[in-house]
Amino acid sequence: MGEVKPYLMKKGAEANLYLTRWHGKKAVIKKRLPKKYRPTQLDERIRVYRTIHEPQLMSEAKKAGVPTPTIFLVDVNETAIIMEFIEGTQVKLLLSDITRSKRENICVKIGELIGKLHEKGIIHGDLTTSNMILNREGKIYFVDFGLGEKTMELEAMGVDLHLMKRALQSTHFRFTEECFNAVIEGYSKVLGKEKTESVLEKVREIARRGRYVAERREKA
């Protein structure tokens, strides 16, 4: 597909990422491989759906002012996407090794970007710091929209922020609070206080939703 032999850069959970070149530019092939553990019918449905929707959401995100890699080619038969390679560092890797104020700046910026997505009804679906890349100019790119969707529902926005919080809790447990507060600050800058508060109320509701039998029964 590329001009030189692609080289396996990362073996992800649902796709392999290969480094290649595309008309002289550094590019990534994201190939969703068949999963032998699930029935073929279900497996194909999932891979094809995500291969088609991910690039659509990425270009919509770009229009909304959120940096995403440019899509070069979508090959539905191969369930592969060729996109621009972003030179930079995963936010996950640098968040612990920088000063508090730098960390806050990055998180505010992330919040603004999420706000811009939600403003246009774009739900990322997997907001983790591994899916954000900071480049040298200080621009943050969002990647991996495979679980995303297009909706204006408050519920979906709430889940998106809930996932962001959960990712901070599991991976950046020392700074969860300060990071999440900074994210909300940025989010609020874009969507306004009122909207932000209603999404946050949803986040609280989602967290309250019973994970343990007892709580659910009390509500029933």
Binding site: K11, P39, H162
Partner: protein, 340 residues
Amino acid sequence: MKRKSAEPKYCLGIESTADDFSVGISTSNGEILANVISAYVPEEGGIHPREAARHHAEKASQVLGEAFRRAEIKAKDLSAIAFSQGPGLGPCLRTGATIARALAHYLRVPLVGVNHCVAHIEIGKLETGARDPVTLYVSGGNTIVAAFDSGRYRVFGETLDIALGNCIDVFAREAGLRQKAGMPFGAVVEKIAVKGEKLVPLPYTVKGMDASFSGLLTAAVNLLKSKEYRLEDLCYSLQETAFSMVTEITERALAHTEKREVLLTGGVAANKRLQFMVKAIAEEHNARFCVVPSEYAVDNGAMIAWTGMLAYKHGISTPIEESFVKLRWRLEEVDVPWVK
């Protein structure tokens, strides 16, 4: 509190979070001397907390006696009493806690409150030799993907609503299936699903490393009521869809944490099809696949005894006045100083 010797010998564990009442006894190095389980099987419907608690109170002395007989030790040989302090159903938890407090007070040994979810992970590690796994813990009340980092088990993924086991149980009840002791709904559905041939499309809901089962359950029940599909095909489709979801989030956590082991634990871990799926992703990422033996997959006292022993050896005990049950005690709130 008197200490009989510097090295603790035996810890007794009481498990009563939901429908099972169980007592286990562990030595200080994790030899399980007894694991006696009494399951409460409702006549119809789901677990009624008060009815289950009544079952626990009625069976307690019998189960305790049987545990001592199997372990061939006396109550005075115990170094600590552990109990599942949460999360779970209030009346059930309180019944176990009351028995544990009385025993600890009477025997003048320390009481150790154990987190039920931590215990499922620890018994899995003990029985399989896993050291630092990504754990998929699936049962009637919990669906969690966790891994250790800096002193605690961190939750990477979980259900956003109901537990996987709960989803299967409710579907089975709606289908009019019957469970009995030793053959819970999960096993009944698994048996029927083997005869399924056609995959019926059902909602597949993965959000990040979390999953949601409530929409899947509603859709499956609606199809059941439409009478357009064979029960075999619906059981098969429900299992395939739900298991694919938890397998996918486990794979995500595995790729994210880059751990070298995957541990499958909790009641649903007994399902052969789920074992096959999780094993496949472990192999894909060159990780060792570990699954808890079925007698320790279900809720059991042995896991409480062993986790209580680990905690006790690390200086953790729970004063009686602080031994309130915690209905929503989250896994990541618990310090686990014994894990390095």
